[in-house]
């Protein structure tokens, strides 16, 4: 994590972070961010930023649909993972709440067609619970690593959008922009712990089991990206992908798409072909 803005580092090699303390995470979970938001100051944000904020709010709030998808499989038997997911959903609920508030306060008319109501209900995407539960019979505990890999990659995708929101606004130097950058930094700091858990747990399981790595490649290639995008209008999803992937950060990092591909490939057993399929699905 970057100490100054909470940014998640996209790994470039198979790093081994320190063991994640789930109990400490639960104890220190971040609740409502409302008190830290200066909503009066964010009026007048560019339309693209407001639209991305609204899409991010829906994506962050779609935890229950994702929980259903993973809990109908043997992942629900892993008490360490489910203990993490309880607090993960709680933190994301409040992140979504903050994003909705900021987007509403910014709200340039006609900027977005994304769901504006908080806690937007999920629409169905891909396989339903019966197919997933049946598949889980054969997959066994190896599927847990695949689900953790999904969580990690989703965090990488969303972080590209957060990074651009923070960076673009800082360059503009407008009040609204500075306030947004601060809020985004706080959100990225909260999310950095999720990413660290997903990365460490996925890496350990994918390294230990070639079958888990194979399931992860398959899940990554066939999942709708970003996770929870079934709740987002198709136009908004495409606009979001362009915003996140097309951005070229300062330094030699390359475009969002290039950095995302590197992040995906940093998982043990995940190849360039799988990374390319994730990006193709994002861009579709």
């Amino acid at each position: 994590m970057n100490d100054t803005n909470g940014a998640v580092r996209i790994p470039t090699s198979g790093a081994r972070p320190a063991p994640f303390d789930v109990r400490d995470f639960a104890r220190t979970a971040q609740g409502s961010l409302r008190a830290s938001l200066d909503l009066d100051a964010v009026a007048g944000l560019p339309a693209a930023a407001a639209r991305t904020l609204r899409t991010l709010a829906v994506l962050e709030g779609a935890t229950m649909a994702h929980l259903r998808n993973v809990l109908v499989t043997p992942t629900h038997k892993d008490a360490r993972v489910t203990a993490f997911l309880v607090s993960w959903a709680y933190e994301k609920y409040w992140i979504a709440d903050a994003l909705h508030l900021i987007a509403d306060a910014a709200a340039p008319a006609g900027a977005s067609t994304a769901e504006s109501a908080p806690r937007a209900p999920a629409r169905e995407t891909g396989r339903g619970p019966i197919r997933r539960a049946l598949a889980g019979f054969g997959q066994g505990p190896d599927v847990v690593g695949a689900h953790l890999a999904l969580g990690f990659v989703d965090d990488l995708v969303l972080d590209l959008a957060y990074e651009r929101l923070g960076a673009a606004e800082r360059a503009d130097g407008v009040d609204a922009a500075v306030v947004l950058a601060e809020a985004v930094a706080r959100i990225r700091a909260v999310k950095a712990r999720h990413t660290r858990f997903f990365e460490a747990e996925a890496a350990g399981r994918l390294t230990a089991s070639p079958r888990s790595a194979r399931l992860a490649r398959r899940e990554l290639a066939r999942s709708p990206w970003p996770l929870g995008s079934g709740s987002v209008a198709a136009d908004d999803r495409r606009a979001f992908a362009r915003f996140a992937l097309g951005h070229r950060a300062g330094g030699a990092g390359g475009t969002g798409a290039e950095r995302l591909a590197r992040g995906i490939r940093s998982l043990p057993g995940i190849d360039a072909r799988t990374a390319a399929r994730v990006i193709r699905r994002l861009e579709a």
Partner: protein, 264 residues
Amino acid sequence: MAFDIDRYTATSVSVNWSDLDLESFRREPLPEPSLRTLRYMADVEYHTVCYTRDLLTTPSHREADVSAFMTMWNREEFWHGEALAAVLAMHDITVDYDQLKASRLKLGWKDRLDPIKQSVLGGLVGHDFVAVHMSWGAANEWSAITAYQRMAELEEHPVLAELLRRIAKQEARHVAFYTSQARERLAASTRAQKVTRFALSRFWAPVGSSIMEPDEVRHVMGHLMSGAEGRRAARKVDDSISGMPGLGGLTIVQDALDRLGVAA
């Protein structure tokens, strides 16, 4: 009365026990049968996620208020498990995630089939199935409150009583959510009433029955709900359940105690 979901989410906290003198359990330890019951309660609280999963396989998860509630509810129940684990720790009983995982692995085929059964039923019954979940949730939360109250009465341990009171207070808000949802849905549809009545009378069993060994269920029900006082408490829960639209006359808790052979 409508449940104010925004107020609930804004005030949802993890149960606090930092001000309670847990060291008192070193001086006045709980007897073994009570520890066995507490262990059951802790496991059930940690396993709330299993029930969430079943809820999520049906149309319930599409509803925004339900999602918001479940997010907070899950976390509060997780912390109830942590609080009870802290009491158990004072008796040198450790509840860790690896042990919980081991007990979940024992669940076997029944557990694997549950999400599929729930999905199929949810698909067949459609929107009315949400009423079943909400009524089921209300029955479970009412019985949880009753169990905590009975435990506090039986033990007469002031620190335990205070902790259980705090937990039960949170459970009361869960009851408020489930009953407001259930009442509204039951009142709006006779079909929902019929399906719910059928499901509760045929399939309801004390909380934890699907995840704990039968011996443990019998121990806990015998410990908390036997005798005249226990049965009176069970009757109270049944009265609450049967007070919901279309559920008059149901005695699911007392029936379950009879099936388990719990002495009246």
